[in-house]
């Protein structure tokens, strides 16, 4: 058995995409990820705790994220929290999924333009 290539994760499950997006560029803890997803989706997507941690567990097992050892300054931090960050594989998967979605949107626009012309 060989290591799963990034393409094998596509299309990404919706929850995984939301989590990876929250971790892009910044480490986050569980509550932070939940809040970030809620805000980004205008309150439409709420990752409930068991769903969120179930997904985090799978993402760790698949090597897309890891628990981070870095912690913010103590005055900005809650010592109980665990922070997570993207791995290079997670970053690659997120980039590929972004490209896939971009291509889909482009195809959709092209189709709309074609319909408008005819």
């Amino acid at each position: 058995m060989t290591r799963k290539p990034p393409e094998a994760f596509l299309p990404l499950k919706s929850n995984w995409l939301h989590i990876l997006l929250s971790l892009a560029g910044a480490e986050q803890h569980g509550y932070g990820i939940m809040q970030d997803v809620l805000e980004r989706s205008d309150g439409k997507v709420r990752l409930w705790p068991a769903t969120l941690y179930g997904s985090l567990k799978r993402l760790i097992q698949e090597g897309l994220i890891v628990e981070s050892g870095d912690r913010p300054a103590p005055e900005f931090d809650d010592a109980r929290r665990r922070y997570y960050k993207l791995t290079p594989l997670g970053q690659r998967v997120l980039d590929l999924e972004g490209q896939r979605l971009k291509d889909l949107v482009r195809a959709l626009h092209a189709k709309r333009r074609q319909e408008a012309r005819s």
Binding site: M1, T2, R3, K4, H29, G30, Y31, M34, W48, P49, A50, T51, L52, Y53, G54, L56, K57, I60, Q61, E62, G63, I65, V66, E67, S68, G69, D70, R80, R81, R82, L89
Partner: protein
């Protein structure tokens, strides 16, 4: 508020009922998140929100047990652990760092509940040398680097953390870092036929950067397994 407290107790009980493997990876994050969320959900969504919160937990619980049992079943049906055993260095095929070149080297890997216990020993400059037994825990978490009794290790910088993961069944990755800066990385990869183990170690030591790619052949039968 009494109702929220009662629901909080139910939530905690459910969260603590999750399988050991889940709790090893996620810690008590699930419990804490519920505690943080309960008053907010009660304020914003009332009974419906609390019901949804508990239902999420109750529905996930059997799924996690199923996933754990499926993993165990897979392990049981495997002929043997890929990494476990004794491995002898193939000096000719290996590319040792000039400062860390042994005449002979062996490692033994013993499976534990959380990963492996590794013992490395060999002959260098005509003398027998052995490394301290080190646990390899492959759950993606950071842990302080201490000896098997939980005591600090001489020469290890304060605050140093070890991490390990198993991106696929044939690969173990790990390393050490201090203050977010990586000190060294190690990859162990078993070949398709399970007979060769390639260990790549790179990092920065007291004498500067180093890199070693050591190739090991499986020792069969394993001298440390009676009747193996």
């Amino acid at each position: 508020m009494n109702r929220v407290n009662r629901c909080g107790r139910i939530y905690r009980r459910l969260a603590r009922a999750f399988p050991h493997e889940f709790r090893t990876i996620c810690g008590d994050g699930l419990e804490q998140l519920g505690e943080d969320l309960m008053p907010v959900v009660w304020r914003d969504q009332g009974v419906a929100g609390i019901t949804r919160l508990l239902a999420d937990l109750a529905m996930r619980l059997p799924l996690e047990y199923f996933s754990t049992w499926a993993g165990r079943l897979k392990e049981l049906t495997m002929t043997s652990d890929l990494f476990e055993g004794t491995w002898r260095a193939n000096i000719d095929k290996s590319q040792w760092d000039p400062l860390h070149t042994p005449e002979q080297a062996r490692i033994t890997l013993e499976a534990t509940a959380t990963g492996y216990l590794m013992v490395a020993y060999g002959i260098k400059d005509g003398q027998a040398v052995a490394e301290r037994p080190s646990p390899i825990i492959v759950d993606g978490r950071r842990r302080p680097i201490v000896d098997l009794n939980g005591r600090p290790i001489a020469g290890v910088p304060p605050g140093a953390m070890a991490f390990g993961s198993r991106p696929d069944p044939q690969t173990i990755e790990g390393g050490a870092e201090v203050d977010g800066k990586t000190l060294g990385k190690r990859t162990l990869r078993v070949s398709e036929d399970g007979k060769t183990l390639t260990v790549t170690v790179e990092g920065t030591g007291i004498k500067g950067p180093f890199k070693t790619v050591a190739v090991f052949d499986r020792v069969e039968p394993d001298p440390y397994v009676p009747f193996g």
